[in-house]
């Protein structure tokens, strides 16, 4: 035991414990609970039945009352573990409850009704994942449509962002032409103009282009992001000009140089931009909230917000759909964490 604790507490270079070491581990511990806890709680809750959700204090595991079909009764009856007068325990089905007494029957012997005080019985429950929380909103409500809309917006916006921004970045990094400095200046100046500052005139523009309440009205306004152009240009500047000269000597057209030489070489930067673009579009909220008015056009985020804002919040559906909306993001995070974190560390963009 002491060998184990010595191993666990062993410090590099044999130095003793400093109070900052303790603080660091406390920080990590609290961080683990505070950061993971809420999401874990969300996922667990999303598998609970409405009845289970309404309990207070809440159970940790998603539990559901067991029922049994008993001869002579149309409805399935809930099962309870009952302590009988003789001290023995038995599993009985409850027929009805009258005041503090419950009328119960033995499922094996449904003929006799037994009267039991309600504080003598405990419901028989088992872990049950309420997958209907996931299935029902997709079938009965528009969530499948929201999903499709979000996927459409995310994929189209990301594709256009990548193509249009990389073309502009190529022009701004590898060509000399009049007005290049001016364009670069404008791009730098608008790097930080957030959408919330121009929502009103943008609303006007989108309306006059007949894009109001369409998914293209969500997609187009933010695809020509200065951030993307800037990021890609900085990367393309590191591609040697000699490569482009070599391609020109190799009879490549400018368009071929762009997509067969420059794009593959800028793949790391494109990947970073693609990841960010997917996150931005998937999580976008304010602008879709303004542009989309009919329910069938909602994206997932707007749909979730609307659903959770209803008078009688159906939490079991909201929680399940929230979990579902995290899945793509979680997948990206699991597989591409390294690129995301490296991208943020290098570019400082989010």
């Amino acid at each position: 035991m002491s060998a184990l604790s010595a191993f666990l507490l062993r410090r590099r270079g044999g130095a003793g414990w400093h109070w900052t070491d303790v603080l660091a581990y406390v920080w990590l511990g609290i961080g683990l609970v505070l950061m993971f806890g809420p999401v874990l709680w969300l996922v667990v809750s999303s598998f609970k039945t409405p009845a289970n959700l309404a309990e207070f204090p809440p159970t940790f595991r998603p539990l559901d009352a067991q029922v049994a079909r008993v001869q002579g009764y149309d409805q399935p009856l809930p099962l309870f573990r009952v302590r009988l007068d003789d001290g023995s325990e038995k599993v009985l089905a409850q027929v009805r409850r009258v005041g503090i007494m419950a009328q119960m029957v033995d499922p094996q012997n449904p003929g006799t009704v037994i009267r039991v005080p309600i504080d003598r019985r405990v419901p028989v429950r088992e872990i049950k994942l309420a997958t209907e929380n996931y299935a029902e909103p997709l079938q009965q409500f528009d969530f499948l449509r929201y999903f499709q809309n979000s996927v459409f917006v995310t994929v189209m916006a990301t594709l256009i962002t990548l193509v249009v921004n990389s073309m502009a970045a190529f022009a701004l990094s590898k060509y000399e032409f009049k007005g290049r400095t001016a364009v670069l200046g404008i791009i730098l100046a608008t790097l930080m103009v957030p959408l919330s500052v121009i929502v009103v005139p943008l609303y006007l523009v989108v309306n006059s282009l007949n894009l109001f309440d369409t998914l293209w009205g969500v997609i187009l306004p933010t695809v020509a992001t200065p951030t993307g152009v800037f990021l890609l240009r900085q990367y393309m500047l590191t591609i040697p000009d000699e490569l482009i000269d070599a391609a020109r000597m190799d009879k490549a057209s400018e368009w071929q140089i762009y997509w067969r030489i420059v794009l593959p070489l800028a793949a790391p930067a494109l990947a970073v931009l693609a990841i960010f673009s997917v996150m931005w579009r998937w999580n976008d909220f304010l602008w879709p909230l303004i542009v989309l008015s009919r329910k069938e056009h909602y994206t997932l985020q707007v749909g979730l917000n609307a659903f959770s804002g209803e008078l009688n919040v159906q939490w079991h559906y909201v929680l399940a759909m929230t979990v579902l909306s995290i899945v793509p993001v979680a997948l990206i995070f699991l597989f591409l964490q390294r690129y995301i974190t490296a991208g943020i560390a290098n570019t400082g963009l989010k």
Partner: protein, 343 residues
């Protein structure tokens, strides 16, 4: 940083090949028309051709809106388009800025606006302070030598990727009357609290939740800064017998200062625009106690039955002015950093 060089080596096989497929098709299709364009404009003219699509979209959806926002804020009326609106001069600004006492929002003509300005100011000051301190602490902890560093970095970072709506819903679920937090507190003998229905608690949770959601991002920037500090400096300090606290104050903090400045300004810019998480979490309530400027713009211009786009436009310009000032500050700081690095 090793991840940096690896990412630059062009080794993103699965992802690049995935993205490459539709790309290849598209690019191949465009080959012939683009060759025609090149014959027409010559190699030198292709720069403008490549720039054109971006500039077109950018002009329509960013430059024109920026340009007409100012004009829009000088008009009144209920119509969306300019034809149905009339010139009111600075009336919208006058409406927004008329106040008997700027410290008391209820004495203002647009009390909701001033309430949101007050709330935003309070939020910005508290949130940025807490956020930067917590991010710094996290970065320092993550910079230590330990096992499974990638995992721990992920623990603090993953909320950054969650959508604001999801973040809001997660915490709304925990903070509700019969939620997890109240259950835990009852277990320890505390009283049940309606967290989102009390003014001060609602503001507290708005700040808490936004720090929770964004600290990973800023911690990551600071972590990159910490890792850029040469190890020999610490080894030299160790040889000199410098204590840990002294090392932190005299070596780490001064060398991290440029990154810290960037983080502070970025956090400021983001905090001024706070909307989504708070909107989903509290809806601006109770009353208007957690309504922030962006929400005011949204409510005034779009959500309210009597939408007032002119007023919203004027409010957005006022917020824009603040952001421009902060951005200028950021450019100044990063310029100074660049010059320092060059020196």
């Amino acid at each position: 940083m090793s991840t940096n060089t690896e990412a630059r080596g062009g080794q993103v096989p699965s992802l690049s090949s995935l993205v490459a497929l539709p790309f290849r098709f598209l690019m191949g299709v465009l080959n012939a028309p683009m060759s025609f364009v090149q014959r027409r404009f010559g190699i030198g003219g292709m720069g403008a051709v490549f720039l054109a699509p971006n500039m077109l979209i950018f002009s329509i959806f960013v430059l024109i809106p920026v340009a007409i926002n100012l004009a829009y804020s000088l008009t009144g009326g209920t119509a969306i388009f300019f034809e149905g609106r009339y010139f009111v001069g600075l009336d919208q600004y006058r409406t927004l800025l008329t106040c008997d006492d700027y410290t008391t929002p209820s004495t203002c003509l647009q009390d909701a606006f001033w309430q949101s300005v007050h709330n935003t100011a309070l939020f910005v000051v508290l949130q940025v302070t807490v956020l930067v301190l917590v991010s710094l602490g996290t970065a320092l902890v993550l910079n230590r030598e330990m096992r499974a560093r990638g995992f721990w970095r992920g623990v603090f970072f993953f909320p950054v990727l969650l959508s604001p709506v999801v973040v809001g819903l997660i915490w709304k679920w925990i903070l509700q009357r019969d939620g997890l937090l109240n259950a835990i507190l009852l277990e320890f003998g505390f009283e049940r609290t309606l967290w989102l229905a009390e003014r001060n608690w609602a503001m507290f949770w708005a700040i808490f939740v936004s720090v929770w959601a964004h600290l990973g991002f800023y911690a990551l920037i600071l972590l990159a800064g910490l890792q850029a500090i040469p190890r020999d400096l610490y080894e030299a300090a160790m040889m000199d017998g410098t204590g840990r606290m002294r090392t932190f104050w005299r070596i780490t903090l001064p060398l991290l200062w440029p990154n810290l400045l960037v983080v502070v300004i970025l956090a400021l810019i983001k905090a001024v625009q706070i909307f989504d998480e708070a909107f989903v979490l509290t809806g601006g309530g109770p009353g208007t106690s957690t309504m922030f400027i962006t929400q005011y713009i949204y409510e005034t211009g779009f959500a309210h039955v009597l939408r007032n786009l002119g007023l919203a436009s004027a409010a957005s310009i006022l917020m824009g002015a603040v952001l421009v000032a902060l951005t200028a500050l950021q450019l100044l700081a990063s310029n100074r950093r660049a010059r320092k690095e060059a020196a």
